[in-house]
Subunit: 402 residues, 4 copies
């Protein structure tokens, strides 16, 4: 058996945090990179150990273990969550298995990090949030993986909103635009089937932007009005189990059972208006998560395709010399940046996972509940459910269940 | 009396087009600049003459005549529209007087150019469209002033959509963002009173983006779902009659009776999804009219704050060397550009009025119906009415009346 | 004879400023647009009259008079400058005739506006500056047409430098990039012949950026080091007299006798370093005049392709919320903007000529010497001469003659 | 002793590549991140082992070993290079020690990766290139760390130049702008002393841009003409040994003995013109390495502050729909990208070190000479020497020694 990869050397004397990860596709790779890096860059109170990676295919999971640096491989997640030598279960599977794994892990006394969306249904999410609350009383942490809160620029935006720099909120407009479904010959992968994915762009992209919008606004949505659409209703069947984002097509077609795109409006509890769009059909937009907040005192704007930048307009200065300024979010006093490179040396997408790991390790060590919690994940689920309900009911304004 | 200013010298022998303009505020100045310039730059079949300017205040209108280059001043628009030496009535007043003036001018046998929105109510707009249709049979032209169709970049976008460059339309997202109402002490000008303005940001900004979106898409909206909001419900009364955009406040306050902002979604008849936002509360955004269209073969994006540019993504090329390209819309074969400056020498906002004048003069000379017609203006009005109806009915999806 | 076009109506009682313009190509059209507009937009102490346009070809100049709105046409510039009913001679011809016309006009007691570059040689420019200085004592104004000082964004930049907002200057980097010579089959127009154009990109583009850099810096260059190049040394002969920017090629070729491109560095008198580039071979750059100034307290950046914007970095604030801000130069307290449209409604290239006319009219009425003066034009000529001398002498650092 | 961190698990059976790294400041951290990641992301023919880290301060280097994941710590680089269990020496020290360490390591039969600039003098660099050439015959690899060749966007640019997409080169303009010396109270760190740093912005920033420009152009510079300047000639002494980029000042001042900024022009061997600028005084520019290449068929532009983007203008298409396009360099067929994340998920600065490691490991395994070689590093050194010579000789054009 290979030696587990510790983010910090054994000689440091810090208590270990032994991690078991379920899933090893795109998210598994990203989380692995986060766990591998976090202790090398940040001063941590615990020493994360990449102990066990788990997946159904024994050969594939063993290869993934070697590739990503996990000490052991498992094929049964039930066995994993019961192991005594695991402290934290990191769930990187599709949404339909989140609830079962997370509930078992919490019941087994583990800390849990669960990829977004928290679950495929509100009922599952409710059970998970309840279990997390109970586990919280036993000292267990449960966190949902809305990693876009951990881009330094969005974290800075949150801090600036908290500091009152944009004042009373008036507008939030947010879009998450991708284009990988534009070709009608792209095959029917699991992400296009309701039974596995729960929903389409809504659960995948919409979950991110609903969470990010509420997080940055510092308040929840009160209600939504939505239209959804499935532009291409039949697609070729894939030839083989696929990763969701790429596949080879085969003979025959099948029905797409999720939304291709969703546009919705909403009101925040403060009365601010919001506009959302999530789509996989915005030709030429690869991963454009854009958010802008306009308040009485200022505005903030962010685009994930330029993730080291935050645009800020200070509305309290005079207009003569004012304008949206491009803050390069690479200064030492920007969130997470004191541990990284000198000013101007930008970070990338994957760093959000190291930052997420850092915040989770601190919360565990300090006995705090990490954010976003499962309750936060449940609330996002309720917004998505309201979006779906509104879309079914002719776009009528639908309050978010409390 | 001063000599009328002809855009072309009298010796050219072209038939004159004698213009009477009602209103001399912001739009009056802009239309004057358009009429003064159009014949100097474009080859026209008629010779526009800036004959008469009309307004209620005799001193003010005389000053405006001298300033803007009109040969005569009138104080009674009813007298103006009856004059035999006027061929075209150009209406630049607030929306509550459009219907009355336009109907009288059409009845008097004049061509009419009417600022947007066509009217404050659908009923008025219907009457106007009907009258225009009847006048059409008598050889009269009637056009509504959606000048943003005449930015070279938007005209190029329209041409590219027509050429099939973006293919089947999937998404249109459009916002018109200003910020001049952010300060709660900004006074209650006519633009904030329903009886004069008809509506708030919806009729002012929303009318522009509804027209532009449908024009670029090449198809009408089928229905909308809307939320509107008045963020600041009481404002100081202005001290004096104001121009709408700037004023001095006085003692006392009054209720704002129009919307401050509107967010709405919609479906085009083809099934494409649309997202709209119109607001005067987007701190730092001065005149940001942004529109993006995503189609199966490509995408187009435009921002009025950079009006000499059009962004275009050709989705049919390979992704390796692809990306949104910034077309500098200043080439001789771009719309309107053969008459202007060499490549790279940009135009401004006001040139849209010269282009509008050019297209109208050609339509009149050639006996064609100009676009956008009063019927087009009526259709926009119906969309705005559906937006208001939806906003009143809890955002329920509201079809556009045909 | 047609009635002269007055920018203000005759009834205003203001004294007239009767203009005679020599040349009617690109610059003639641009100056006409400026004269036609200036009195309609700005409050002026004099009333500009577009009295006489002059050119060698009688038919062409008559057509141009009608097109651009000049009351009369002349074919002999010597006759023009002697007319008693002309107050100002506006010279829009190629550089090889500037000296002769300007000297005659000054001798005849006229005010003079002369297009840039002031002359084709330092000797000519010296004679012109001397004559302008003598005429100054007789109350005549002489101005050189560096219109890029009159973009609101550059004028704002100048004001900010004067206010000390960027502090001690460290760097100026400036480029003027065009691409109309990339095609080796583009014909040998007058702009590519030394005897008419004086120099190539250096006198055409380089003159603009040398003037703008020194104007914005608020200090002259002390010396330069230069490389120049003619990439394509033989080009097809044009078939007919051409406008310089476009032509049809014919049989045969001829030698290009001017520079295609120039790169040079320099020192300002304060010790700041400068970097310049002027070329007609920057594929895809149509009219990209870019300038950036870095000082101890801040930086400013401008790009003519986005002429309504000025980028400003305030280096005195904290870096946490700092960054280059995009000032949309359309506020009422920005230079020239109080007379134009509401915030966010941008201007274009041609407006620089109206602004130039405004400033010249004010200087004449108020008995002030307009800027840039012929002495300023001479100083730019000396910089260009030093650039050429350095380029001939193996790039050795060459001081600017005082 | 801690277990060495292998980028690939031991069970893979691949031959190890045992690395000893000298230096553990900024570059040491960056190289460590590269070595730690490379085998987790890329399929490699060898298995890099982070064996030994070396530095003078025993405590500090031990801490660095634990932090960055090196199995052992050494305090004597001479001992390190002699160890039998080391295959590759990675030199991350200041430039004054490069030659000595590299020569010893090559003599000891090691592969060598040496940070840029290769050396502080041409003589040292010549010795190193000679030694590398001899070692080459013994199967040893020697590479210099110009990591900016390994940004996917610059690597793509190189590929596109090779493919002929921009055709005959006309212009290269390049600037490397930082601002950390703007404050005259910033202390006199080693980077500001000639004896340690060799030169100032020239060796630090200039070396990068000279290499990158020549690499992208695919040809060397023939000669240069240069101006350099030291704006602030006395600075406070630092209180303690510092990392170069940040320090606390103490009583007393000392002379700055390197250049603060350099501006230079040059000619490529093909005749293309180049313009360079390197400075630490560009207020607000944090790490702005910008390069643009204009060729007869197209242009390319890159800015390190937006490192996931490459701008490309295809000059062979029609201008009507042409323009600079923003290629998001995150597609699977872009350089290095097949191993990373889905399209649109950007990389950061540090990834250049993983890419550099990848290319070096492949070259070693395949017996190829890695690029950039020590000969390439020497050639850059000769350009920098010519820059210094020209600056001393009044900017006279100075050929690059062959």
């Amino acid at each position: 058996m290979a030696q587990p990869q510790a983010s910090e050397g054994a000689e440091t004397g810090k208590p270990p945090l032994r991690i078991g990860m379920v899933g090893y596709a795109f998210m598994g790779a990203a989380h692995s990179q986060g766990w591998r890096t976090v202790g090398r860059v940040f001063e941590l109170p615990l020493r994360p150990e990449m102990a066990v990676i788990c997946g159904r295919d024994a050969d594939a999971v063993r290869t993934a273990a070697g590739r990503h640096g996990w000490a052991e491989a498992e094929t049964d997640w039930r066995a994993l969550v019961e192991r005594d030598d695991i402290d934290l279960v990191d769930i990187c599977t599709p949404g339909d298995s989140h609830a079962e794994i997370a509930l078992a892990a919490l019941a087994a006394g583990k800390h849990v990090l669960c990829e977004k969306p928290l679950a495929n249904t509100v009922a599952e999410a409710e059970a998970m949030a309840r279990a997390a609350q109970e586990a919280r009383d036993r000292g267990q942490a449960a966190m949902v993986g809305f990693n876009y809160r951990r881009v330094p620029a969005t974290a800075l935006a949150r801090r600036m909103v908290e500091e009152g720099r944009i004042g009373t909120l008036r507008h939030v407009r947010v879009a998450y635009l991708q284009d990988w479904l534009v070709d009608p010959q792209f095959p029917l992968t699991w992400r296009l089937r309701r039974e596995q994915a729960g929903s389409g762009s809504l659960g995948d992209l919409g979950a991110h932007i609903v969470d990010l919008a509420q997080y940055l606004a510092g308040e929840p949505l009160a209600g939504v009005s939505a239209l959804t659409e499935t532009f291409v209703r039949e697609r070729p069947l894939p030839t083989a189990p696929s990763s969701g984002l790429a596949a080879v097509s085969a003979a025959g077609t099948g029905p797409v059972t999720v939304d291709d795109a969703a546009v919705f409006t909403g009101r925040f509890t403060s009365g601010a208006l919001a506009s959302f769009e999530a789509t996989r059909y915005a030709t030429g937009r690869k991963n454009a998560l854009r958010i802008e907040l306009n308040g009485e005192r200022g505005s903030l704007a962010f685009d994930l395709e330029r993730l080291n930048e935050l645009e800020y307009h200070d509305g309290t200065g005079n207009a003569t010399h004012g304008g949206f300024r491009r803050i390069l979010v690479t200064e030492p006093d920007h969130p997470y940046l004191d541990a990284w490179w000198p000013p101007g040396h930008g970070l990338g997408y994957e760093h959000t996972f190291a930052h997420q790991a850092r915040d989770l390790v601190h919360a565990i060590a300090e006995g705090r509940s990490p954010e976003p919690s499962f309750a936060d994940g449940l609330q996002v689920q309720r917004v998505l459910a309201a979006v779906e309900e509104s879309a079914e009911k002719n776009a009528v304004y639908t309050p978010i269940a409390a």
